[in-house]
Amino acid sequence: MNGRSTRKPGDFQTRSYSADLEQDIVRLLRASFEGGWGNEVFWRWKHATRPGFTPQDVCVYTEAGTPVACFHVAVRPLHLAPGLDLISSVGGDFAVRPDFRGIGLPRSFFLQSARHLIEQSVVLRVGFTDSETYHRVYKPKFGHRVLRTVTAEYSKILSVRALQAKLQDFGDRLRSRPLLQRLLKRGQMTFRIAVCGFQPCDLILSPDSTYCTTELSRRPDLRLRVPYKVLASVRNGSSAALWSVAGALVSGQIRIGGVLRIFARLARG
């Protein structure tokens, strides 16, 4: 049945946490999060065993006893500035079954939970989201605003498997360039990429596919040897990147072979 066409938020029952809801909550979360969600052990750790947890921190909307949406909050003091700690409600793990979306259950939860949160001296509602959800939902519908943070994520590839995945993405982007399309008209091309500290890979580009492998061909069209640090500095786009590349070229840390063959191929094409 499609709940969207016939239901209003007031038609649903709401329940706070009880152990019998765990399976259904996790099922809802798993169905809602594209990147996947954990299991019941993870849910229990994250919510039910959290210091300060109360059953009211979980709100489940049910229809005929079946959970169709769940919302979670954690009431915590947030340290905002020296001398300023405010009790805040951190929201997360919001899930609505796809056939019950668009009828205002999140808004209903926001309104319904407000009094209870204020009674707990909550001043702010905070949460984590991505740009798309913020602009589509949180800003226009809930009046939330993005905070200026200095939080940054630093990441580094450690395995050749992850490196291959990145190279494959890079190859896909490269393949869409007009120059590469011209080159690929004459058949597939193999780029040998040796990133220092990793097993070398062959990036094989054809007009309609990209493939990255550690099984190396005998005669790649182009050979590139580059330190990982140089790749990272280029990705970071810092002003130091240019110096990093120039320094690596001069010192021989970056090596490129087969450029003439590429020119010849271009000339023939």
């Binding site: 954990g38 052990v41 750790w45 065993t49 959290r50 210091p51 979670h72 954690a74 003091p77 947030l78 905002l80 500035a81 020296p82 001398g83 300023l84 409600s89 951190v90 997360g92 793990d93 808004r107 926001f110 309104l111 949160l117 204020i118 001296s121 001043v123 702010l124 509602r125 905070v126 949460g127 984590f128 989201t129 991505d130 949180y138 800003k139 226009p140 809930f142 009046g143 939330h144 605003r145 993005v146 905070l147 200026r148 943070t149 200095v150 939080t151 940054a152 994520e153 630093y154 990441s155 580094k156 590839i157 450690l158 395995s159 992850a162 640090k229 790749l231 500095s233 990705r235 970071n236």
Partner: protein, 239 residues
């Protein structure tokens, strides 16, 4: 989040997927000078190097801890290692960049004002010293919800005398009008937390101050309410 032993035990050691060996401690003369904890898929929950160490030593300690974390991540078979750190810590930022880390800031930490009365009270208490010179001693905030789904109070009064107090006067028929500040709750959040300037709000009519003679005092008050400390949210505090 204020760190207590109970909170740390829950957020780190009791977290499914964290092994005691994923918690790495750096010691110097039997004193802990650094600490990090790894979680599934190579996420670093916490990374701390004693900020009181001299810069050169702190740099060396940071490098040592990064290397140890990478080694542990490789033992666990993680494909990537991801640190969440304040970009404002230049020493750690440089140490990670020099170790070949790629940096990005893509996550949004969002905020909505639920209780403006409690917020104004907390901020006014904190900045009371900056308000002593104000000529006007009572300010009325007329709030509208803007894009927010609800507004529990639509009029507040901030009295500086006899004691600093913010009260809900939504139902009051008469109230002092020495300075009336009309603002949407979302705009108030922007002003306090998001670096939005008073001038910009005034220009776009998202903030109105009457009478005009009270503008200077209102500016001083609103300026005192701004929280400009940079926010940092460690991975272990994510929800």
């Amino acid at each position: 989040m204020p760190r207590t032993a109970e909170y740390w035990l829950w957020t780190t050691l009791a977290r499914p997927g964290v092994d005691a060996a994923d918690v790495l401690v750096l010691e110097d003369d039997a004193e802990i000078v650094g600490y990090t904890a790894l979680w599934g898929e190579g996420r670093v929950l916490d990374f701390v190097v004693d900020p009181d160490q001299p810069p050169r030593k702190r740099r060396a300690l940071a490098r040592q801890l990064i290397n140890a974390a990478e080694q542990r991540a490789q033992e666990r078979g993680f494909d990537m290692l991801r640190f969440t750190l304040p970009i404002s810590d230049q020493l750690l930022d440089t140490a990670l960049r020099n170790s070949g880390y790629i940096i990005k800031q893509s996550e949004f930490f969002i905020l909505g004002l639920l209780n403006p009365q409690a917020l104004l009270q907390a901020l006014a208490d904190l900045r009371a010293a900056r308000l002593t010179s104000l000529r006007i001693r009572s300010f009325v905030f007329e709030l509208s919800p803007g894009q927010g789904p609800l507004l529990l109070t639509n009029r507040l009064i901030l009295n500086l005398d006899p004691s600093l107090r913010v009260e809900d006067i939504s139902d009051a028929v008469e109230y002092p009008t020495h300075c009336v500040i009309r603002i949407e709750v979302c705009s108030l959040a922007e002003l306090v937390f998001c670096g939005r300037s008073i001038d910009s709000l005034l220009r776009q009519s998202q903030l109105q101050i009457t009478p005009a003679a009270s503008l200077s005092d209102a500016r001083t008050l609103l300026g005192a309410l701004v929280v400009d400390t940079p926010w940092y949210i460690p991975a272990s505090d994510r929800f």
